[in-house]
């Protein structure tokens, strides 16, 4: 649960819930927007992680 990916998913979940609730008024729209945001965060994080993978630190 405290792995990088696990914490990223939990973080994305919290942020998606708040922004979904903040940006939309109807519960159904909030759920849809929040789910899309969550998916974008998680997929974006994984894609960015792989793009940065070859870079030397």
């Amino acid at each position: 649960m405290t792995s990088h990916a696990g914490l990223m998913i939990i973080f994305a979940l919290f942020v998606s819930i708040v922004f979904g609730t903040l940006m939309r008024d109807e519960p159904k729209e909030q759920l849809r927007f929040g789910a899309r945001l969550f998916a974008a965060f998680v997929v974006g994080g994984i894609v960015l992680g792989w793009l940065l993978y070859p870079l030397p630190l």
């Binding site: 405290t2 919290f14 942020v15 708040v18 922004f19 519960p27």
Partner: protein
């Protein structure tokens, strides 16, 4: 009928009280404005995120180190969560353990919880003003 100066002053006071409540307790502003679902969602989510940040051994940056700009900005962001910031400080939580593996993650959770509560306060302000 036009609003009188007294009406406008009363309305402004009410709006600022709503904002103060929204800052002090996440979601309280929405609850007072009758947006129960939104208020409860903010209350549960932001409080949980703050607690999670503390559990991950993040640090609540002190307001006393204002000479260091990054610490000061982090402290202001942390303060955004409201009364919980002071309660956690009184309970000795949020000292931050730099050597903990989850220290930076904890900081991110604490800072973002505070910043998102600031957005919630602005949303409550807009609702109180009748813009939403």
């Amino acid at each position: 009928m036009r609003a009188t100066t007294a009406d406008r002053e009363q309305s402004a006071t009410y709006t600022y009280l709503i904002c103060a409540a929204a800052w002090a307790i996440p979601g309280a502003g929405h609850l007072l404005l009758g947006r129960i679902q939104k208020g409860l969602t903010f209350l549960i989510t932001l409080t949980l995120m703050f607690v999670f940040g503390l559990w991950l051994q993040g640090r609540l940056f002190p307001l006393t180190e204002l000479s260091q700009p990054l610490v000061a900005l982090a402290a202001l962001a942390d303060l955004g969560i409201g009364v919980a910031f002071f309660i956690a400080g009184k309970l000795g939580l949020g000292a931050g353990r730099v050597i903990a593996q989850t220290y930076e993650y904890g900081n991110a959770f604490l800072i973002v919880a505070g910043l998102m509560n600031m957005l919630v306060v602005l949303d409550a302000f807009d609702i109180a003003q009748g813009r939403k």
